[in-house]
């Protein structure tokens, strides 16, 4: 340490500092663990945090168990009825063969003549998800490209929160919007009056359109994240080769982020498949295999709502059928999620 001899004050302060440092860093006491309150408290906090993390896992396991035990194989013991006969608890697929479920084209569990073919419901779901994807994917991707490549920081600071508001609108409002605005003021004048196709009060197109709008914020915010994660050096290299902003966006940035963008599409489609309230309100309840988007269709979700809200007898085949439909829906969205996770993981490898 260098001390200036002509400044006694400085000398003192430096010495004081040195003493302080010694006091702080000097080794103290034993290294033995103290069997004190601190350890109990730490253990308690750890348990609470673990329990919170466990809630969602346990819920998922519980839901899968309920779906399987009602749809595939009932594990509950047989009941003895009032007349002394054994009444077996049977799951849906113990009554209806999976082959009929997957190949039959009629879905009429609530009629006297019951048919259990999931195809009309899958058809309705896919039609609405398809329309939603046709609207949500291009608009969502273009807004993502705008936000990431074109927008000034000021424009971004306005548009991003607005998109987030769109994501926060309750889905029941979207359903109502489809029923009282999209169908009467958009589809009827355009499709029915101009093109001459009949448009029903309930129809797949209006539901698809609002679900498409609903998934725009999801696609744009997820895609924007992956677009922005494309290294700036790659953009600069493209600009330095005489690219316009559009060249840079479409020929370099979007291709480089493609797997992340596709993952965002898949997640959004999974959301569209699972969307319930807007579809139940706007699409109607007609379980048919059809290619006409302007007539009423039933989706897997809207069927489940319909049965859950109706006066269906507990233990009846209608009641059991919703578990089979729910299982099918779960499988579809799970598959989409797994595929998108897989695609995303491959994306991350490119730039790490």
């Amino acid at each position: 340490m260098k001390l200036s001899s002509d400044n006694p004050f400085k000398k003192e302060t430096e010495l004081a500092t040195d003493t302080q440092i010694e006091a702080v860093i000097a080794p103290t006491g034993s290294l033995q663990r103290s069997a004190s309150l601190v350890r109990v408290k730490e253990g308690f906090i750890r348990t609470i945090l673990l329990a919170c993390a466990g809630v969602s896992i346990l819920t998922t396991i519980g839901i899968i168990f309920v779906l399987f035990s009602n749809a595939v194989y009932d594990v509950a013991p047989d009941r003895i009825g009032a007349d002394g006969k054994v009444k077996p608890n049977e799951a849906f697929f113990q009554i209806v063969s999976p082959v009929e479920f997957l190949t039959e084209t009629r879905w009429t569990p609530q009629y006297a003549e019951k048919h259990f073919g999931i195809l009309p419901l899958v058809c309705g779901t896919l039609m609405i998800s398809g329309i939603a994807a046709m609207i949500g994917i291009p608009v969502g991707l273009c807004s993502a490209v705008y936000l990431s490549e074109y927008a000034t920081p000021r424009a971004r600071s306005i548009i991003k929160p607005v998109l987030e508001v769109l994501a926060g609108i309750p889905t029941v409002v979207y359903g109502y919007f489809a029923l009282v605005f999209v169908t009467p003021y958009l589809l009827k004048p355009l499709i029915q009056d101009v093109l001459g196709f009949d448009v029903g009060v309930f129809n797949a197109a209006s539901a698809g359109i609002v679900v498409g709008i609903m998934i725009i914020p999801m696609i744009s915010s997820l895609s924007e994240d992956v677009l922005r994660s494309v290294p700036r050096s790659l953009r600069e290299a493209a600009y330095a080769l005489g690219s316009t902003r559009f060249d840079v966006s479409t020929k370099v940035v979007v291709p480089a982020a493609l797997s992340g963008i596709i993952a965002s599409f898949l997640l959004a489609i999974a959301r569209a498949i699972g969307e319930t309230m807007a579809v139940t309100i706007a699409a109607g309840q007609t379980a048919v295999v059809t290619g006409n988007p302007f007539e009423s269709v039933a989706t897997m979700t809207s069927y489940i709502v319909n049965v859950s809200l109706g006066d269906t007898e507990l233990g009846s085949i209608e009641e059991k059928s919703i578990y089979a439909v729910g299982l099918t829906l779960f499988m579809m969205t799970l598959a989409m999620n797994i595929i998108s996770q897989f695609v995303l993981r491959r994306f991350r490898e490119v730039y790490n």
Binding site: E236, L241, S243, K251, P255
Partner: protein, 297 residues
């Protein structure tokens, strides 16, 4: 680092611990050039000016990073920009093809002239400018596409669709960048699979494919191993016969090896510029001398 080079620090270090202090001091201040100066490090006097800047000031927001820089860059030669980190040499380089335009909040005063035309004038198309003034970056930046697609990118965005012509350009550019023999059998493979040195030569080839007159290089070899660095330097040396090259480098040996003119920047000011051989052996300014003898930086 190439083993045949003197490290500037070697000049400063005492050879033995018993060396007298006076001699150490003597060695310390002696104005010796720590780098070998090849005969090529000089310029023919009649070279025409390709690019020049006049009284260029440059700002990031309110932060001025270039002060009144006026520099003439002669055609078909290599001009090296040297100076410590943060001295503004990269910023200066990026003003020459308006690369700074894509950064928010930058502005400049003064002129940058390419063959007498102010490139910041309102009627200048910056896309066309960057085709004539290409750029190679410190970090190699191959697009995640095939080798062929990487080279063909520039001509394609310029509107060329003819496949035979594109193939010709790809081959010629790769040959000129001394990469053709290594990749000719795998043009459709991903460019990301090439080694670091190959990627950098690919980026140079990609720049050549747009047929520029001027090539800007921002520390093109600083992330490469010695063997790859030597190959890139050889390539720069070769390219100067056809192109005007401006290279930013932290490595003074590299500046001496590849350039004919050197400009020394310090704290945003162009301190000294001159024929490389002159500047390294007989610097005019004290700051230049201190920097090239390894006193700071």
């Amino acid at each position: 680092m190439n083993t045949t080079l003197n490290d500037p620090m070697d000049e400063l270090a005492p050879t033995t611990s018993s060396e007298p202090a006076t001699e150490k001091t003597e060695r310390f201040v002696k104005p010796v050039a720590p780098v070998e100066i090849p005969e090529t490090a000089s310029l023919s006097v009649d070279a025409a000016t390709k690019v020049c800047t006049r009284n260029l000031d440059f700002y990031y927001g309110n932060n001025q990073v270039l002060f009144d820089v006026s520099l003439d860059i002669p055609e078909k030669s290599v001009t090296a920009l040297i100076g410590p980190s943060g001295c503004g040499k990269s910023t200066f380089l990026r003003t020459l093809n308006r690369m700074n335009d894509i950064i928010e909040g930058t502005r400049h005063t003064g002129e940058v002239l390419l063959e007498g035309t102010d490139i910041y004038a309102s009627e200048i198309d910056v896309v066309l400018l960057r085709k004539r003034v290409g750029m190679v970056f410190q970090k190699s930046t191959p697009f995640p596409k095939s080798i062929f697609e990487n080279i063909a990118y520039g001509p394609k965005v310029a509107g060329l669709r003819n496949k035979a012509r594109l193939a010709e350009i790809v081959e010629a550019s790769l040959k000129r960048a001394a990469l053709w023999d290594e990749v000719k059998d795998r043009l459709q493979d991903s460019a990301m699979a090439l080694s670091g040195g190959q990627q950098q030569r690919l980026c140079i080839a990609r720049t050549l494919a747009t047929n520029p007159d001027v090539i800007l290089m921002d520390e093109p070899a600083s992330a490469l191993d010695p063997a790859s660095t030597a190959r890139v330097e050889d390539l720069i040396f070769e390219l100067r016969k056809n192109y005007t090259i401006v290279i930013v480098t932290h490595n003074m040996q590299q500046a001496a090896r590849v350039s004919q003119q050197t400009a020394f920047f310090f704290q945003g000011i162009l301190v000294e510029t001159g024929v490389t051989k002159e500047l390294f052996t007989n610097p005019v300014e004290k700051q230049t001398e201190d920097y090239i003898t390894g006193r700071f930086g």
